[in-house]
Symmetry: D2
Subunit: 296 residues, 4 copies
């Protein structure tokens, strides 16, 4: 298996619905549009993909459609984490067989007090042992209330089939500690756009960012600027996008992200309940923020 390059900007794409059902055509049109911006690849079935509201059959349908729509040179990463270890392994294998190239595995979280270091290590090792594709850890305490400590990450980074992490904790000290202690070929990807420039400067390989759905070009510009040593541009762009990021992705959640996509020429649509779409007033505010950031 040739080594995959995970560096670059990857949008964790939403899953579009019409009347509550998968809108596959809209999904493929979105993917084609994103892929014209210079992104490294696509993450399907992540938190912004409402993976918790999809059946396994729907997850397969989404990934089949993304694989078909994306150019061959783009990385297709998929969120395949479930609460159970066996469930996760089965879904990861199923998604690999239809073309997923890498699996992003969220920390199991329901029995939070029992998700000890030993339990988390064994979960990831079992999945990585059995997975036909490389595994990346997914640390997102905002949703899981679990943090993957540097101790766990460093330990797992030695596994031959665990190749990286997406860290959405927003904690750059922790990113720096990961980077200091993992092997050079273990890819640390930042998951919060507000920390993109800081993370890339520290040596992160790239970013998987909700913001990359609505401002892929600016995220790529920050990535390129850091690569070429133009820190002034990177810092300026970073400060420009932070308000958009806070507003659209944190305040309004997936519903806000989808509404912004509708304003930007993608298909957004409504999230599945219990997520609520933004109100008319919220949409006005989103439009105002996008305009202030010169995105529309």
């Amino acid at each position: 298996m040739a080594t995959i390059d995970y560096s670059g900007i990857i949008p964790p794409i939403p899953t579009p619905f019409k009347d509550g059902q998968l809108a596959i055509g809209a999904l493929q049109a979105n993917v084609e549009k994103w892929c014209r911006t210079g992104i490294r690849g696509i993450l399907a079935l992540g938190s912004n993909g409402e993976y918790v509201y999809l059946s396994n059959a729907e997850k397969l349908e989404v990934v089949r459609a993304v694989v078909a729509a994306a150019p061959k040179d783009r990385l297709i990463m998929v969120g395949s984490g479930c609460e159970g270890t066996a469930q996760t392994l089965r879904l990861t294998s199923d998604l690999a067989h239809i073309g997923a190239q890498a699996a992003l595995v969220v920390t199991p979280a329901y029995y939070g007090g029992q998700m000890t270091t030993a339990a988390l290590m064994r979960h990831y090792e079992t999945v990585a042992d059995g997975s036909p594709i490389p595994v990346l850890l997914y640390n997102v305490p905002k949703f899981t209330h679990i943090n993957l400590s540097p101790e766990i990450v460093v330990h797992l980074s030695a596994h031959p089939n665990i190749v990286g992490i997406k860290d959405s904790s927003g904690n750059v000290s922790q990113l720096a500690e990961y980077l200091h202690r993992v092997p050079a070929d273990f890819s640390v990807l930042v998951g919060t756009a507000g920390a993109l420039y800081g993370a890339l400067s520290l040596g992160c390989a790239g970013g998987i960012l909700a913001l990359a759905n609505i401002a892929p070009r600016i995220c790529i510009q920050i990535f390129d600027a850091v690569r070429s040593g133009d820190h002034e541009t990177a810092s300026r762009l970073q400060r420009r996008i932070v308000a958009v990021n806070t507003a659209v992705t944190a305040t309004y959640g997936v519903g806000g992200l989808k509404a912004a996509l509708d304003m930007l020429g993608y298909f957004g649509g409504d999230p599945r309940p219990p997520l609520l779409p933004p109100s008319g007033k919220d949409r006005d505010e989103i439009r105002r923020i996008l305009a202030a950031a010169e995105l529309i």
Copy 2:
């Protein structure tokens, strides 16, 4: 539809596995044994039932087995909550059609920041509108990091098909506030054994308690003592069980509960990964605690 009486003690039963697969015979033997103790009914597919590790097909298999094994006069309640509203409604209907009599619906939790009062109310109302069986709310902030405020509970208690709540917050002030403000026919059930006596004294209809799996008779004695006004007995028994409850259910989780069941003549077995079974040392401690409480 005749009104169901939810008062009494109900164990939220674990799901037994052999070699990682459902152990239906063991499950049915357990159910028969619990039903000889005077419990009001069975909760299948609750948090102690590892519902997050079961496929929908397995959930149906579990409930079919419980319905077949339990005497007809026992209440069969099932955990049917999923992250999505549509998923929840579908599973609730499927479980109702095979004999479940009431559905316990956990709060959706993944997108915690978006689970506003409005989102939660709409979720429960949609599920209750469509469910063929009565719905109970399930508030378990320890696992979900979401709390069902009195405001939400009072509002939902007016829905004709929302008939009660299992509250596992451990917060008796909140229980008292629920009780003060909901209709008399809305059943408030306590979900933490440490608060059993306090909750029953305040007017709770009953308890759905992990501890009722391993000490059903003591839980029933507390229930009966409060009913008959013998508060001294109730208080004494409550203080006796609190250490068992803390140790077995809080410290050691589902794995500890299953180990205790093995020591008590039920089939416990191991939990599914990522949950780990207790170590040999932990098992010794569990045995010691059960012995100290005169349960073995």
Copy 3:
């Protein structure tokens, strides 16, 4: 030293200010009025006493005034906890010398991560070793973000000069565990009115409750009802006061409590900044709640 009886209802009194300065006359008038209701004693300098906004000189002035105003048969307890061990010991001694009979010592909290079991035990033991008056532990996680575990409480309950605890965690399971494991002469006092009846039924000696400032007679009725075995009355009264308690003490804080006192014929006045007094709209709501509970 004769053993002190801590059982009964004790209001943790606010400190009245006029133009930001101590209003000693008003304080003494309040104390006299409370003492006509059958309360066991007074807690001065507790959380509701805004002790964090008082200088040591002011603390002494408050306690001198309370000692002078209260009948001799009432217990004068004082909040004497500071962040530092030496500071706490010095203040406790100073307050003892002017008539305080028992010291309520809050957990030090600023360096939360360093407040280990060992650090907390040594803090309390050092204070208790040197204090001329008995010490009670004060567990109030809402303000301190520190919880005194049963392990710590049980250990400290063996100290001859540590005689009790005020627990404001609202966690009745924890209260039950304390009660089960401490010596019979160690007084467990509940600090949240919402849990009063539940706590007394379990065997708590009494309550130190913000609500006892505004509804002392109802709190005393609950206490007496439990003592005499009239659980129905206790339960009914408990459910009646829970809304008042939530609204006045939790929602509106010290400012709300003081506003309620003004409506009830005590002197309330404004809290010290940064605490803000309730708005006109909030005052209307407080008045409405007091009226609904038939307190005005």
Copy 4:
């Protein structure tokens, strides 16, 4: 009043004690030693200065000693925040009169639920209105469990006597949002060494860092490298110090920091109880970490 330049590296110095009493000679020797490293100034009475364990008289004594020991070109900043607004204003004035040049004011925190946006704004505005020296906000959620939102910081940054913020949240997205929205002459200083490079790259003016006590020269090298555009050096040094920072300042707290100082030729000594000094085993670990980072 000439405008003060807050840019650079500032150690938040510990307060040395001998037999529990202020060790003024040791304090002054430390200050002289730090000032030979190129630091911008000194922060006395910060969290690492154990300010919560000092009386007001001791606070004055510490600041007098620091003012006397430091060269005239160094900034003398002091932690003057208390829980009360009036207390804070009085202490700030007293410290200004003996030579403090700027006041770092921590968020009041005890009544956390009441520390609303309005309450915090009024607190800071009142202090800034009355303070004879410029005021900086101090955001340290780790200790206070309060976060100064961008909304509050942006509002307060318009006050003529509020000149900056020390942010110890570790959240670089928030730093970026502050930087994007405050006036150019409002100094945003980072308070966590793990985020130093990321923060400086984004445009922060400097850092007030526990680590600057034990590795001032490396912190200054990072600052200088970012100033001169040498991001490679800055990133490399940042990754080198992150382990030291985590270990010494987070894991072992003030006691660990003091032990490290003893190993580095400064006077450290023991913290005041309830803080415990590190055990012999912990000291060995601290020594090992300092050696691994080539600090000893």
